[in-house]
C-alpha cells in the first residue's frame, strides 16, 4: 500500500472537532489582534510613503531577503545567526508542513477523496519536517544556553521584567511543541510497528479507525524517512499498545495546546515581531526624519510617534545589539537604546490591549524615556547600524525631543545656544559679521559667493568659521582650493548654521527658519558644486535642503563636468511642499548614495576628485603611519568611506584601521547637539577619550586623522584629558593633503595635538 499521512490516527472525533474549533478560534483571534494592531498603528501621526513604483517594491524584496530570510545584521554574531536561522527556518517549514497537511486532509482527502501526500511526496514531507524539527530544537537549545547560562549583558541589562516572562514562556512553549512533536511521532511510529506485528486490529471498531490503523501501519514501514521519529519510537519499545495510544492522545493534546498557546501569545509579546517586523521591513519608507507632530507637549511619548514609528517600535525584540554599540550607554549616560525602544514597545502594547499593566515596564520607563536619557543621545546611528530589525532609534529620539522642546524642558546649556542661533545665526553667540574673518590670514582673497557667481560654493559651518582651532583647518582647505585653481567662494556673514544639529535636538521650527535663510542664498545662484568640510552641514545640505533632489536629474548629470549649465540651473524650490504655518512634509532623501543630481560634496570627496584627476599633484609622499576616524555624518549616514582612504593612500600615508572603523566607527560625542550641552557630572570617561584610547592601541601610529571640525576639537580636548599629548596628535585630512601637495615644503601642517 502507498504510505500516506495518518492524520488524526487515534484521535477520537470529539477531539478532532475540538481541535478544529480551537484552531478556528485562534485564527479569528489572531486576525482580530492584527486588526487591533493596525488600528493602533494608524493612531500615530501621519507620515507619507515614498512614491510607490517598481524600484520601491524591488527595495522591499531586497529588504525582505536581507532582514528576514538571511538576516545580514546577525552575521557578525555567528552564534545568533545560526540560532535565528535554525529557529526561523525550522518554524517556517513546520508551519508550511501543517498547512500542507491540513490541505492534504481537509481538502484532498475529505472533499476530493484523494491524497496530496502519498508515496514519495509523503516520504519527502516526513524527512523535511523531521529536519525542520531538529533545526528548531537545536536553535531553541542554543537560545536557552545563551540566555540562561552565558547571560550576555545585552540580554540581561537593563533588567526587563516583561522580557523575562516572555522569553521564558515563548521558549518554553516552542520547546514543548518541538519535543512533543517528536514524541507524538515516535509514539505513532511505535504504534504502527506494534500493529504491524499483530495480525488483527486491536480495537473492535470498524471503518475509519480500521482505516486509520492501517494507514499508520503502512506509514511505520517508511519510518526511515522520519529518522528522529524512528529513533524516538525506540524509547517506547515494550509498551503495550493501549498505553501507547493513551500517551499519544495526551501528548497530542499537549502539543496542540502548546502550539495554540504560542500563537495566542504572539500579539501580546515580543513574538509579534513576526508580524510587525515583517510589515516594517517590507513596507517602503522615507529615510528622512518624519515631520513634526504639532504641539501636545504633555501627552504620552507614544503620541509623538508617527504610524510608521509605532510600527517599528512594536517590532522590537529587546535583543540589545543597539545598546552594545551606543557610545552614550558605554559612557555611563542614562540612555539605553534598548530601553528606549522596548519602553515605547511596552507603551504601545498597553495601548493595544487597553491598558493591561503587565504589558509595560512602567517603573523602568521613567528612566528609559526620561528627559536626561533622551538628551544623552549623540544621534550617531551606531544603534541603527546594528539593529536586526532596522529600527530607527535616532528618529524616535528626535520625535521625543521635539516634545521636550515644546515643553521648554531643554538640556542644560541648550537654551542659550538656540537663542544664539536665532539671534546671530551661529551657535557660538559670535557676531555674524565676523564669520568670514578667518580668511584674513590668507595671502589671497576669498570670493564672496553672496555677491558674485562661483563654481564651488563653500558652505563653511559654525565651528570651521569661528573656533580658532578649526579656523586653521579652514585656512588650509582654502590654500588647497587655491592651489588647485578652483573658482570658489564663501558666503561670509550671510551664511547661517545649516541646522543639522538643531533638527536633531528637536527644534524643528528653528531648523526650518535656518534652512529658509540659507536657501535664499543658495537658490537662484549659479553654482555648480556645494562643498563643505563639515559633515553635519554636509548631511543637511545633501538630504534635507531639497537641493539637487531632482527627480529629473539622472545619475549622469551628477558626474563631474557634464552639462554644467543645466545642472547649475536645476535647483528645486522647496517652498512648494511646505505649508505656510511652518509644519513641513518629510523631505525626500536618497540614502544609498545613488547621487540624485547630488552636487553637494564633502571636501574629502573633493580632494579625491582633485587628486585622481590630476588637478592636484602629489609633490611628496608623507610616508607616515596614521589612523582615520570616520565621522558619523560622513560615514554611517552617507556611506562616504572610500574617498578619504583613497586620499590617504594617494599621499603616501600608511593607514592602520582602528577596530571600530567604517560603519562601526565610534562617535566622538559632539553629535545630537551634545557639543552644546553641559556635561553630566561624574559620567565617567567620555566617548572621545575612549576613542583616543582605541587609537593609542595601534602600533606606531602617532596621528589621528579626522575630517570634521567638531572631531578635531573633541579629540584635541580628549588627548589632553588622557594626557597623551606626547604620543598622538589630531590632524585634519586637509592638513595632510596640503603637506603633500604644497610646492614649498616650509609650510608644513603642524597639527594640533
Amino acid at each position: 500500500m502507498v504510505p500516506v499521512r495518518p492524520t488524526f490516527w487515534n484521535i477520537p472525533t470529539p477531539s478532532e472537532i475540538a481541535q478544529y474549533i480551537l484552531g478556528l478560534g485562534v485564527a479569528i483571534f489572531l486576525v482580530w489582534a492584527v486588526l487591533r494592531h493596525i488600528q493602533c498603528w494608524r493612531k500615530g501621526a501621519s507620515e507619507p510613503l515614498p512614491p510607490l513604483g517598481r524600484q520601491v517594491w524591488r527595495e522591499s524584496i531586497r529588504r525582505l531577503v536581507r532582514f528576514v530570510l538571511v538576516p545580514e545584521r546577525l552575521r557578525e554574531d555567528l552564534y545568533g545567526f545560526v540560532t535565528h536561522l535554525a529557529i526561523f527556518w525550522g518554524m517556517v517549514f513546520l508551519a508550511l508542513g501543517t498547512i500542507i497537511a491540513t490541505v492534504d486532509w481537509d481538502l484532498f482527502h475529505l472533499v476530493l477523496g484523494g491524497r496530496l501526500l502519498s508515496g514519495l511526496s509523503y516520504k519527502l514531507f516526513e524527512l523535511v519536517l523531521d529536519l525542520a524539527g531538529v533545526a528548531l530544537l537545536v536553535g531553541l537549545l542554543l537560545a536557552i544556553i545563551r540566555r540562561y547560562f552565558w547571560r550576555p549583558a545585552r540580554l540581561s541589562v537593563p533588567r526587563l521584567p516583561r522580557d523575562k516572562w516572555q522569553s521564558a514562556v515563548i521558549l518554553g512553549l516552542l520547546l514543548t511543541v518541538a519535543v512533543t512533536g517528536f514524541i507524538v511521532e515516535g509514539l505513532r511510529i511505535r504504534a504502527g510497528v506494534v500493529l504491524s506485528e499483530t495480525a488483527a486490529p486491536a480495537t473492535a471498531d470498524t471503518g475509519d479507525l480500521a482505516e486509520a490503523d492501517q494507514a499508520v501501519t503502512v506509514a511505520a514501514t517508511v519510518r526511515a524517512w522520519s529518522p528522529v521519529g524512528a529513533v524516538t519510537s525506540e524509547a517506547f519499545r515494550g509498551l503495550p499498545l493501549g498505553t501507547v495510544r493513551r500517551l499519544h492522545l495526551v501528548i497530542w493534546w499537549i502539543h496542540a495546546i502548546a502550539a495554540f498557546g504560542f500563537l495566542l501569545l504572539i500579539p501580546f509579546t515580543k513574538a509579534n515581531h513576526l508580524i510587525a517586523g515583517l510589515a516594517h521591513v517590507i513596507i517602503p519608507r522615507q529615510d528622512g526624519l518624519p515631520s513634526a507632530v504639532s504641539g501636545d507637549g504633555e501627552a504620552t511619548p507614544l503620541r509623538a510617534l508617527t504610524w510608521r514609528q509605532r510600527l517599528e517600535v512594536s517590532a522590537c525584540t529587546s535583543c540589545g545589539k543597539c545598546q552594545e554599540a551606543c557610545p552614550a550607554h558605554l559612557a555611563n549616560n542614562p540612555l539605553t537604546p534598548k530601553g528606549l525602544v522596548w519602553g515605547l514597545h511596552g507603551l504601545f502594547m498597553q495601548d493595544v490591549w487597553l491598558g493591561w499593566k503587565t504589558l509595560a515596564d512602567s517603573q523602568n520607563e521613567q528612566l528609559w524615556l526620561s528627559d536626561e536619557a533622551l538628551w544623552s543621545c549623540y544621534s550617531c546611528r551606531a544603534c541603527e547600524e546594528k539593529c536586526p530589525l532596522a529600527i530607527r532609534h535616532t528618529g524616535l529620539v528626535v520625535a521625543l525631543r521635539r516634545r521636550l522642546v515644546d515643553r521648554g524642558a531643554l538640556a542644560d546649556g541648550l537654551q542659550e545656544v538656540l537663542v544664539n542661533l536665532q539671534r546671530y545665526g551661529n551657535s557660538l553667540g559670535q557676531s555674524p559679521r565676523k564669520r568670514g574673518d578667518w580668511t584674513r590670514a590668507l595671502p589671497f582673497s576669498v570670493k564672496n559667493a553672496a555677491r558674485e557667481p562661483v563654481e564651488y560654493l563653500w558652505f563653511v559651518g559654525d565651528y570651521a568659521s569661528y573656533d580658532p582651532r578649526a579656523q586653521q583647518v579652514s585656512q588650509t582647505v582654502a590654500r588647497i582650493l587655491h592651489l588647485a585653481n578652483l573658482d570658489f567662494g564663501i558666503l561670509y556673514e550671510k551664511e547661517k548654521n545649516a541646522g543639522n544639529d538643531v533638527r536633531r535636538v528637536g527644534e524643528e521650527g528653528l531648523f526650518e527658519w535656518l534652512r529658509e535663510e540659507n536657501l535664499k542664498l543658495l537658490k537662484g545662484r549659479p553654482w555648480r558644486w556645494l562643498i563643505t568640510s563639515d559633515p553635519h552641514s554636509f548631511h543637511a545640505l545633501r538630504h534635507e535642503y531639497g537641493l539637487g533632489g531632482c527627480e529629473t536629474s539622472s545619475k549622469g548629470a551628477a558626474a563631474r563636468g557634464e552639462r554644467a549649465e543645466e545642472v547649475g540651473s536645476t535647483l528645486v524650490t522647496v517652498g512648494a511642499t511646505e505649508n505656510p504655518s511652518g509644519t513641513s512634509v518629510t523631505d525626500p532623501v536618497d540614502r544609498n548614495g545613488d547621487d540624485n543630481g547630488l552636487r553637494v560634496r564633502h571636501t574629502a570627496e573633493l580632494f579625491w576628485d582633485l587628486l585622481s584627476t590630476g588637478r592636484l599633484k602629489v609633490v611628496r609622499k608623507l610616508g607616515r603611519r596614521v589612523t582615520y576616524h570616520d565621522p558619523c555624518y560622513l560615514g554611517r549616514y552617507n556611506n562616504v568611506f572610500e574617498p578619504p582612504r583613497a586620499v590617504l593612500k594617494a599621499i603616501g600615508c600608511d593607514l592602520v584601521e582602528m577596530p571600530r572603523h567604517g560603519p562601526e566607527s565610534f562617535c566622538c560625542g559632539a553629535g545630537g547637539g551634545r557639543i552644546w550641552m553641559k556635561d553630566r557630572p561624574g559620567s565617567g570617561e567620555r566617548p572621545a577619550e575612549m576613542r583616543v584610547r582605541e587609537a593609542l592601541q595601534l602600533e606606531g601610529v602617532s596621528e589621528l586623522v579626522v575630517a570634521c571640525p567638531k572631531d578635531l576639537v573633541m579629540f584635541q580636548d580628549a588627548i589632553k584629558a588622557v594626557r597623551a599629548e606626547e604620543r598622538i596628535r589630531v590632524v585634519d585630512l586637509a592638513d595632510l593633503v596640503w603637506e603633500s601637495v604644497t610646492p614649498t615644503p616650509d609650510n608644513p601642517a603642524t597639527g594640533y595635538g
Binding site: 553641559k678 556635561d679 557630572p681 561624574g682 589632553k720
Partner: protein, 325 residues
C-alpha cells in the same frame, strides 16, 4: 561753584558702607574745599558709624520711627522735602542696590535731572561735568549740566583711593513726623544664604575660576593652585549659576567685592560685572586662551594660553620654589 553736596548714607549691617565713604570722598574732591559736604543718615546710627563719616562737614541725622528701614522710596520722599531748605546743589548717591532705587526716585520727587552710571565728575563755573559709563562699560558719554539741583549716581572705583582730610563733622538731628513716611513699602527681614566658614573678602589670595574651567571636575586644578598659594577658590557668576561653587564664593557686581593681595583669574573673560568685584586687587594675574579677552585690560600680568597646560606648571614651579627655600 557748588556750595553744598548732600550724600545719603547707606548703613548696612550696622556699618557705613565702603561705597558711601567713597562717595563722601568724591564729594570733597569734586566740591573742593569751599563746598559743604553734608552726610545724611536715616535713623539713629550706631556709634562706630559716625566715626566713618568724618569726611563730612555736617552729619544730618533724620529720626525717628521707621526712617532707618532700608526702604528707598520712603527715605527718598522724606529727603525730598528737605533738600530745598537745606540749600543743596547736588546729591551724590552711590550706585548700590539701595542707591539705584533712592537716586531716581529722589530726582523725580524734586524734579531734578539724574546723572546715572557716573564714573567721574568735575565742577565747572557753568555747573557740573560728568562722564558716564554705559553699554556694559564699552561706551562713555561726557555730559554737562547747568547750575541747578541735580542727583548723581556714582559708580564705585574712581574715587576709592583718594585720601581726603576730615571735615568739620558737626552733627545735627532732625525729626521726621510719622505721617511723612510712605508706608506702601515695608521692609520685613534680611534673608541670608547658607553661610560657609570662608569669607572671601577677608582672604589675601584668591584663585577665581570662570567659564574657561569647562567642567566641575576641573575645579580641583584651581583648588590645588589655591592650596599651593595659601589661598581659596572663588568664581564668577556663570560658575555659581552652575552650582559648582556656593553663592558666597561669587565675585562680582551681584556677588562680593574683594581686594586681595593676589587675584588669579583662570578662564575668566573679564566681563564688567565680574571686574567690578575684583579690580581693586593689588596684583591680578589672568590666564585665558583668548589673548583678546577683556580681563587682560584689568590684569597686571597675563598669560594667553590654555589654563590646563599652565596651571599645573605653575603649581610645580611653586612647589620647586618652596623646596629651594
Amino acid at each position: 561753584m557748588i556750595r553744598r553736596i548732600l550724600v545719603p548714607v547707606e548703613i548696612y549691617r550696622n556699618q557705613v558702607t565702603d561705597l558711601t565713604r567713597e562717595v563722601l570722598a568724591a564729594a570733597r574732591v569734586v566740591g573742593g574745599e569751599q563746598c559743604e559736604v553734608v552726610a545724611c543718615v536715616f535713623g539713629e546710627p550706631p556709634p562706630e558709624a559716625v566715626a566713618r563719616l568724618q569726611v563730612a562737614d555736617r552729619i544730618l541725622i533724620l529720626r525717628d520711627g521707621q526712617v532707618g528701614q532700608p526702604v528707598a522710596i520712603a527715605q527718598a520722599a522724606v529727603l525730598s522735602r528737605r533738600l530745598a531748605q537745606l540749600g543743596v546743589d547736588v546729591v551724590f548717591v552711590g550706585s548700590s542696590s539701595w542707591g539705584l532705587d533712592l537716586a531716581p526716585l529722589l530726582a523725580s520727587f524734586v524734579d531734578a535731572p539724574l546723572i546715572a552710571n557716573c564714573q567721574n565728575l568735575e565742577c565747572t563755573t557753568e555747573g557740573l561735568r560728568a562722564t558716564c559709563r554705559i553699554c556694559a562699560g564699552k561706551l562713555l558719554v561726557d555730559v554737562e549740566i547747568g547750575q541747578r539741583l541735580a542727583v548723581v549716581l556714582l559708580l564705585s572705583g574712581s574715587y576709592a583711593r583718594y585720601e581726603v582730610p576730615p571735615g568739620k563733622g558737626v552733627i545735627e538731628k532732625c525729626e521726621v513726623a510719622p505721617e511723612e513716611w510712605d508706608a506702601r513699602v515695608t521692609f520685613l527681614r534680611w534673608v541670608e544664604p547658607a553661610r560657609e566658614d570662608i569669607d572671601i573678602t577677608q582672604e589675601s589670595t584668591l584663585v577665581a575660576v570662570g567659564r574657561g574651567i569647562e567642567r566641575q571636575e576641573n575645579l580641583t586644578l584651581a583648588e590645588e593652585l589655591a592650596e599651593a598659594l595659601g589661598g581659596v577658590v572663588c568664581g564668577s557668576r556663570p560658575v555659581i549659576d552652575q552650582g559648582w561653587l556656593p553663592p558666597t564664593r561669587q565675585v562680582g557686581k551681584s556677588g562680593m567685592t574683594v581686594k586681595p593681595k593676589l587675584y588669579f583669574a583662570l578662564g575668566i573673560s573679564g566681563a564688567p560685572e565680574h571686574v567690578e568685584g575684583m579690580k581693586d586687587a593689588e596684583l591680578i594675574v589672568a590666564i585665558n586662551r583668548d589673548e583678546r579677552a577683556p580681563i587682560f585690560n584689568v590684569a597686571h600680568y597675563g598669560i594667553a594660553a590654555d589654563l590646563f597646560d599652565v596651571v599645573p606648571a605653575i603649581k610645580e614651579a611653586l612647589v620647586a620654589r618652596r623646596q629651594e627655600v
